[in-house]
Amino acid sequence: MPTAPNGRRVAVINGLRTPFAKAGTLLRNVPPVDLARHVARELLYRTELRGKEVDEVIFGQVVPSVLTPNVAREVSLLPQFPRTVPAFSLNRACASAAQAVTAGYDQIVLGHADVVVAGGVESLSQVPILHSRRFSEILVSASKARSFAARLGAVLKTRPRDLIPITPAIAEPSTGESMGQSAEKMAKENGISREAQDQYALMSHQRAAAATADGRLTAEIVPWFREDSGGDVIATDNGIRPDTSLEALADLRPVFDRRYGSVTAGNSSPLTDGASAVVLMAEETAAALGYTPGTFIRSYAVSAVDPGWQLLMGPVFAVPQALDRAGIGWQDVDVFEIHEAFAAQVLSNEQAWGSREWAQRLGRTAPVGRVDWDKTNLAGGSIAIGHPFGATGARLVTTLTNTMIERDAQFGLISICAQGGMGFAMVLERR
């Protein structure tokens, strides 16, 4: 399925993101909606695109703010857009921004839109914190009380433990297993060693540091001007450690299984704040408006596995499906972007794609493919750069597009593992 049945092709014109900052650091005072608006506005300017050309705005966000539940609409209410641009927000866990991109693709292919701004945002510094159920009830009945006495009576029912807040956990609601525990389980069951994980994390940091230094990563970043500290400029990601070493990584203690574990803060992606977005256009619209497409979206696929099994193995299923839909094989792909939730997850996915046993499970005659690290994650990955859940997908589309332009690569592939046992894959093509 190289192109849609009706012949409509969808171009990625341009992509941009904010700097990614570890949660609780540089961007901790910035509401996620501001990050999303900032990146979308700058994307319009950098694309020299007027908001009136845009037909739809789609944003992904995994932990939405209670106050701005449809963050995409807040974006499309920027004064740079006419007030008449519809917008929706979606949640495909860690693949949300990638889902936003393919949702935009769908709208364009269907002929419902010609130009879409798609992206994602997350602030893990500003997750909503909830009151306990009992305290919420007390507040509601107090607000409904008609007299002061009744109000006082309601409030007096409060017990100290009612005041303990509930913070959203990064855990599977269906199993109660945290994401890190899942990674730990995958490392053990798939025999991924601590050293292999640390080695992988080191590569991610070294590559991201190099790509920052030579400008490949900074080119996709719009600087953020900090209002809370007298106009400091943040122009790079603050999770990348150019000077880290195997020794330094080896010194870290496992977090999820302190005795026998191997997953550490060093070989996992950090909690991160950030936003990213891309401009998508129908091929003929791009031509009419005078834009040169960066890449075209050729296919995508989503899969899901039992979260109680190995939570982050979804990509093993999604990638071959996306390749099949694209009508190409693994060997045709010139550049890969694999989302790094954990080194243990990337290495487990790699193992499965390359294994005969897995080929059988997938009903294939041969393994999906062998990861060539000289074609994969060339600018580092989420372990070093960071992973704002809702934003990573559009970062990958941007980075892959830029790499494909730079290398004049024909095919590129994105693989993302997501909460809930889901996997997401997308194939981009240059011509």
Partner: protein, 710 residues
């Protein structure tokens, strides 16, 4: 055609005021007469139990009196009579046994508010266009149709004086808080709520309630407290007006008499004072300025029909320094356009965006805009170290360092980044526009926009076409300047343009006076006494001596010896004194505020200050030199009209409005007297006082700058 339409329904007469063929409602003599007749009929009409007054205009209730009528008043008696007519009308309304409800949407000013005050119930819309005020003192008058009596009785002496003495309008929410209106409603239901209120009042089910806080009781409700209020108000008026404007004190007198000795006595003071003020010189001047301002608002800056202004939705500002940031901030705040603020270094951009945002934020912290409006306007502003977004820009304002080569380089660079029809405005005070445009690929789109600092506060903008500038570019810059809230004058591309041209000899002369031993404060005091908001040396400290030095040199080169700077600024700069920004200039500053004339300046210049020169001589030397330069610039057609010249002087550097402007002042004094004075000064102080040839010609022919009057 009738200005009033009446609909009677179930005992309620709704009077709709809609002046035919006029954009707004004003209480002209005709309209007033028609209203009075109508009111008498309705009073006698047995079907009518209560009345509602509402406007048929979309954005005004009643904008006030017809100011044209004031200019026609040829005697104090006639003016007094006009005031009495107004007073009689509001008295009849106030004393009506049938309740009257004012339904106010849009501007409700002057006579319009006085009419509303005479009603028994006021409903206003909670809409930003709804503004209520008594702006009469701004025209050198006082509210002469009972306003000085009714307003303090309704909202207390303190709040009433706040509104009357400054002529300041209040928005609907503030009006409700003050008790000026009884309720706020959405515009959609104004009419029906007003009718309902009228019916309720006719049924006598409604009683007016008044609330006063503790401060209100202490200050407004007892004679002792009111004395405090009067004294405070008087002091404030004197410090603000320097005693040059009689109207606020007259209004204070009318309010005070009314409150202390009764309504009748108050009304008499009110119309007597109105009569005096209306034919007085100050009011005449202020009314002229009002007309000139109105005319300038309608003036698109080019000869009629020659070009239309281009739409401006997005501007690029190049240079995120002090000026650039202030231009960006003002554009976002006032013109509400998208702004891309650009500089070469991203840290400088961030600084500039922060400074621009601070201008907007001030409006929010002062509650001029809501949190949501702030967020929307804030999102219009963004910064970049590249040219991203400039491809969509309609207008570029360049505010980089004042250096010809740099400005040319920026222009050349910008031209490669913008649309072919984008307009490029350079903000300069010293460099000829034609020189900057010389290397341009599209010089027809290049012109000057000379902003004054601080941009967000200074009301004037000079738009300067270069030799090749198209009328479209001029019209666009003028229109955009107006959207930024500026009074815009189009000025010829001559060194100094208009404002700095007039200031050059004036500021030089302050230096000469200082070198001759005149104390710093004596020089400044002579000019504040003349009516300037600040004296010339304070002005220099504010502008910055480095900036002034550069400007002075340019003027010297352009116009020769008569503008030779006296060397004072060089001496101060050699001592690292740049004015207020560096913490010291002619004055010493403490915490950024002017504190006292700095004796060190005298030592630096090797002089011993002595009040040897009389304040009159100081005034003559400074003022006549300025008048002479204005006449010279008029000879060179630097401005298009005397009106533009006077507006430029008043709004550009605070030439005393009650004197009407330098050209008006020459007309008032008579060119022959000005020439005589200059000749006298010339023989005493040197050739820089030699009268302008054009002025000499006018003295001989008896010609005037304003030929349309007298």
């Amino acid at each position: 055609m009738s200005a009033f339409d009446v609909a009677i329904d179930d005992g309620i007469a709704v009077i709709t005021f809609d002046l035919p063929d006029q954009p707004v409602n004003v209480l002209s003599a005709d309209a007033r007469r028609e209203f009075e007749t109508l009111f008498s009929e309705l009073k006698a009409d047995e079907r009518v139990r209560a009345l509602v007054i509402i406007s048929g205009k979309p954005g005004t209730f009643i904008a006030g009196a017809d100011i044209e009528e004031f200019t026609a008043l040829d005697s104090q008696d006639a003016a007094e009579a006009l005031s009495r007519t107004g007073q009689d009308m509001v008295t009849r309304l106030a004393e009506s046994s049938k309740p009257i409800v004012a339904a106010i949407h849009g501007t409700c000013l002057g006579g319009g508010l006085e009419l509303a005050l005479a009603c028994h119930y006021r409903i206003a819309t909670d809409h930003p266009k709804t503004q209520l005020g008594l702006p009469e003192v701004q025209l050198g008058l006082l509210p002469g149709a009972g306003g000085c009596q009714l307003l303090p009785r309704l909202i207390g002496a303190r709040a009433a004086l706040d509104m009357i003495l400054a002529g300041r309008s209040v928005r609907a929410t503030k009006a409700l808080r003050l008790g000026l209106v009884d309720e706020l409603v959405s515009p959609a239901i104004l009419g029906s709520v007003a009718s309902r209120a009228a019916r309720r009042m006719a049924d006598r089910r409604e009683r007016r309630r008044r609330r006063r806080g503790v401060a209100g009781w202490l200050l407004d409700a007892n004679p002792l407290g009111r004395q405090l209020v009067y004294r405070g108000a008087r002091k404030q008026v004197l410090s603000k007006t320097g005693g040059h404007y009689p109207a606020p004190l007259a209004a204070l007198d009318a309010v005070r008499t009314g409150l202390e000795r009764g309504m009748r006595a108050g009304l008499i003071v009110e119309h007597k004072k109105f009569g005096e003020l209306a034919v007085g010189d100050v009011s005449r001047k202020l009314v002229e300025i009002f007309f000139a301002t109105t005319a300038l608002k309608k003036d698109d800056g080019v000869s009629p029909g020659s070009a239309a202004a281009a739409d401006v939705d997005l501007i690029g500002v190049v240079g995120s320094g002090f000026m650039g940031a202030a231009i960006a901030g003002t554009a976002v705040t006032k013109a509400q356009v998208e702004v891309r603020l650009k500089d070469t270094d991203v840290n400088r951009v961030a600084q500039g965006v922060g400074a621009a945002r601070a201008i907007l934020k001030r409006r929010y912290t002062r509650r001029r805009i809501t949190k949501h409006e702030f967020a929307r306007l804030d999102a219009l502003l963004s910064g970049t170290a590249g040219y991203e977004g400039f491809g969509q820009a309609d207008l570029i304002v360049e505010a980089v360092f004042e250096e010809l080569d740099i400005k040319r380089k920026v222009l050349a660079e910008v031209e490669t980044q913008v649309r072919d029809d984008a307009i490029f405005a350079t903000n300069t005070s010293t460099i000829p526009i034609t020189d900057i445009a010389a290397g341009a690929e599209r010089p027809e789109h290049v012109l000057g926009m000379h902003f004054f600092s601080p941009v967000e506060k200074m009301p004037l903008l000079e738009v300067i076409p270069g030799a090749a500038t198209s009328p479209r570019a001029v019209a666009t810059a003028v229109a955009f300047g107006k959207r930024m809230g500026k009074t815009v004058i189009v000025v010829r591309d001559r060194p100094g343009f208009w404002v700095n041209r007039l200031l050059a000899p004036y500021l030089n002369e302050a230096g000469h006076l200082l070198v001759e031993g005149t104390p710093i404060d004596a020089i400044d005091r002579a000019m504040t006494r003349f009516g300037f908001p600040v004296g010339p040396l304070t002005l220099l400290d504010e502008v910055g001596l480095d900036v002034a030095q550069k400007g002075g040199q340019v003027m010297r080169e352009a116009y020769g010896e008569r503008l030779d700077p006296p060397g004072v600024i060089d001496a101060l700069l050699a001592d690292k004194r740049q004015g207020r920004k560096s913490g010291g200039g002619f004055y010493a500053y403490r915490k950024g505020r002017k504190h006292h004339p700095d004796d060190a300046v005298y030592r630096l210049l090797g002089i011993r200050p002595a009040e040897a020169i009389s304040p009159e001589t100081i005034e003559q030397r400074l003022v006549y030199l300025l008048l002479n330069e204005a006449a010279m610039a008029m000879d060179e057609d630097v401005v298009r009209s005397a009106r533009d010249g006077d507006m430029g002087a008043i709004f550009g550097f605070g030439f005393p409005p009650f004197r009407g402007g330098p050209l008006r002042l020459i007309d008032d004094l008579g060119a022959n007297r000005v020439v005589d004075m200059l000749r006298g000064l010339e023989s005493a102080f040197g050739p820089r006082f030699a009268p302008a040839p054009g002025l000499v010609g006018m003295a001989e022919s008896g010609d005037r700058f304003y030929r349309d009057r007298e």
